[in-house]
């Protein structure tokens, strides 16, 4: 690690050379790999758990056209409550449940953060499927579940996928805050860097989080190409997304 005194007194060139020293020092490699994997793991598991929790509810409510107010207000709520606040809320809950500090409050906060985009995109996607297509599906004799699985979900898939993508990227960026409540991940570099006045470490952490977010975004972009069916199809009754 570069000395805090150097970083404080040095110029931009010194900062870059400190970063370079940090990154090329084999002593830091294990830590970087572990923190990246931890960060990735908590992000993906939180997104997945959020999807498993909220997708069935969103699909059910959208299929039966229930809770339209909830659907529109939830996304705004998600935007209005800062992630930092959710972590602050999750911490006492986690302590009360005896789950301690660190991983669990972070995980709970990330799950809560991941749900609104998945919910609203799924809801908008399913309710936006052309009415004629759904009516035809019913008219052919599909049961509610069949209409949902054979028609509404495949047609809403691009929007549902976008919801997952937005959530995942947001979660990767926000998982950084886990370090505040004593968890690891790439946020450690930022928190520790700030605490030690080590700008190089802060920069390494920030860039690593940004790269990881881009990487996850790219994964979803590639995945989108493998969604089944005719992706150019005229799916929705109007522009809904």
């Amino acid at each position: 690690m570069g000395s805090p005194v150097d970083a404080k007194d040095g110029g931009v060139m010194d900062l870059f050379s400190d970063v370079s020293d940090f990154v090329t020092d084999p002593a830091n490699w294990t830590g970087m790999i572990t923190r990246t994997l931890d960060h990735l793991w908590i992000s993906l598991s939180a997104t997945l758990v959020a999807a498993l929790l909220i997708l069935p509810l969103a699909l059910y409510l959208a299929h039966y056209r229930r809770a339209e107010f909830l659907a529109t207000s939830l996304v705004n709520m998600g935007r209005a409550i800062p992630a930092f606040g959710i972590i602050g809320l999750a911490l006492p809950i986690s302590l009360a449940l005896g789950l301690g500090v660190g991983y669990w409050p972070t995980f709970v906060a990330l799950v809560a953060l991941a749900m609104p985009p998945i919910f609203t995109n799924t809801y908008t996607g399913v309710t936006g499927v052309r009415r004629a297509v759904v009516e035809a599906a019913r008219g052919m004799g599909m049961k509610d579940g069949e209409v949902l699985i054979r028609t509404e979900i495949p047609l809403a898939m691009p929007l549902i996928w976008t919801g997952l993508r937005v959530s995942a990227v947001q979660v990767v960026a926000t998982a950084t805050l886990g370090a505040v409540v004593g968890w690891g991940g790439l946020g450690r570099y930022l928190i520790d860097g700030f605490a030690q006045g080590d700008d190089a470490q802060v920069l390494v952490g920030a860039v690593a989080v940004a790269l990881l977010a881009l990487f996850v975004d790219a994964l979803f972009a590639v995945g989108e190409r493998f969604l089944p069916g005719d992706q150019t199809a005229d799916r929705f009754s109007s522009v809904t997304a």
Binding site: A132, V133, E135, A137, G139, M140, G229, D230
Partner: protein, 361 residues
Amino acid sequence: MISLVDVTKVFPGMDHPAVDGLSLDIAAGEFVVLVGPSGCGKTTTLKMINRIIEPSSGEIWVDGVAATETPAFELRRGIGYVIQQIGLFPHRTIAENIGTVPELLGWDRPRIAERIEDLVVRVGLDPAMLGRYPSELSGGQQQRVGVARALAADPPVLLLDEPFGAVDPIVRFQLQEEFLRLQEELSKTVVFVTHDIDEALRMGDRIAILNVGGILEQFDTPENILSGPASEFVADFIGGERGLKRLGLRTVGSVDLTRGPVVDVRSDVETARDAMAQYGTEWVALLDGDRLLGWVWGEDLDGQLTDLEPHSFWVELDPESTLRKALNAVVMTRSRVAVVVEDGIYRGMLGLETIAGEVDQ
């Protein structure tokens, strides 16, 4: 096959019923058209038959079973359904679209594939399209797929809601013709909704004319509706030119044709002049055996008939042509007759008197 008994539908929040105490009996194999202005409840009526819309009161029977006593999905699998917006599944290929109901019914794959192959040809589509997606097809082609999809499980009943409303007039005419031909082969019980009275007159065995609020004004054959509208509303709705519309319902084959001033090309000039005198014309038509060669002016008759160059008749009708088309031929040709030829064989001719007589009856 289908019975509506005192069926009423009141939508929530509406003061007046959309359909008010409607009763209809539709026989097996019958093609019934529901027609009327917007707000007459024709689409609501249609959609109550397969319970896309639930009736507020009354009974609906389909194939001897009370519609409301059967689970909706089961009822619908036995009823073909075609809507104006077509509603093909955009994420599924044409083949998958057509195979929807057989798949729901759990047919095995080879049977579904065979059925799809058969249907695609029947509705006049190129089998090469089976692997494509709906967005790659024209409106007319999409609606053919819609009809094929409705027929897939060979349901005894077909419901069609303005099926040809969204295509241009030329394609609409083709689709109507093809559907009528298909219906002749399949003899389904068809309920067909349209706002176009001419389409109704062309397609239906019987037509139910509905007034705003779901009031049945008249339920009868096109011929009877045109010759005896039951109310002022019906008379207004079918519009002017009722005589012409009636001519549009009759075929040339259904009236007695006259032989006309026709002689064999190998006859002599005297025979030709006798034929002209008999019919009071100034021209004579020439035949080679059964084949119509054309016609010549009486003043040109000289020497051998075989030496003359006959004018061809401008319009030749076949027995399937309508009397309306025959009337058009009469007024458009100098000879003032319409000639009828079937498979190259001369059948006879008809003039204005014959045509007008059909409307008088």
